[in-house]
Amino acid sequence: MATLLRELEAVESLNQEFGLTYAQVAKAVHTSESNLHRWRAGTGAPPTAVFLARLAALDAFLVELRRTFRDEKEAHAWFASSVPALQGRTPRQMILDGHVDRVTGVLYAVNAGLAT
């Protein structure tokens, strides 16, 4: 595989550590699975600015998630659990539906000490 941008490392983490398929990650950033594989392989045109921003949002989510919980086990458990602040939906489902910023936002709120 070609040298990964930091943004593409988030794709690998979501696939290898959190169990999302590449097709699901592609859906989360509103692209095709073939595009995603081309970016991963470093062949063809690189991601445009809009896709880089969406990939960066996935990376920002992972940074905030790891900052939130004491260990990977807790982070993984939360990722798949129903969350009251997300109206009972799971972070996993929210991300698959393209709402990664919303998930990152609820994590930022607890990490940065925002009032409820």
Binding site: R67, T68, R70, W78, S82, V110, N111, A112, G113, A115
Partner: protein, 169 residues
Amino acid sequence: MHESVVRGVVYRVTHPDYHDLDHTIVVGRKHPGRFSPPGVGAVHVSLERETAIAELQRRAVLLGRPLAAFAPRTVFTLDVVLRRVLDLTLDAERDNWGIMLDEMQSDDYTRCHEVAEAARRAGHEAVRFPSATGSGVNLAIDYDRLAPGSFVEHRAHEELDLVALDRWG
């Protein structure tokens, strides 16, 4: 325009990575909060230590996990002087700004954002508001546009015992 002055000690409970207030507001611009509209990134503090901790406990409930599941949290004590504060703990100010108590405790931040944006335009540097935890008072500070003579400075910090908080509430 009525302006209150806040002078004294305030508290915030955060992950240690957010001890830096500039970093807090840069990230916060992407993530709105109460009286922190999109693009603003206000710093939130509580006037009482126990309120800051209660806010963390309420956040944990909203995330659906016990505090013991969280990474370490730090209580930061800060000295502040804020000269242009909109005080929404006052009935008269809530009337002036068209916001009700229940709207300041709702999970829908629409009205809070509307008032915060108007307050910024009017030159306020912070909004003082009752905590949605049910007791205590918070401040949303526009840290990047403090008035001359105003300041927010770290004084001390201590790590919270999250396991004990889970056990004793």
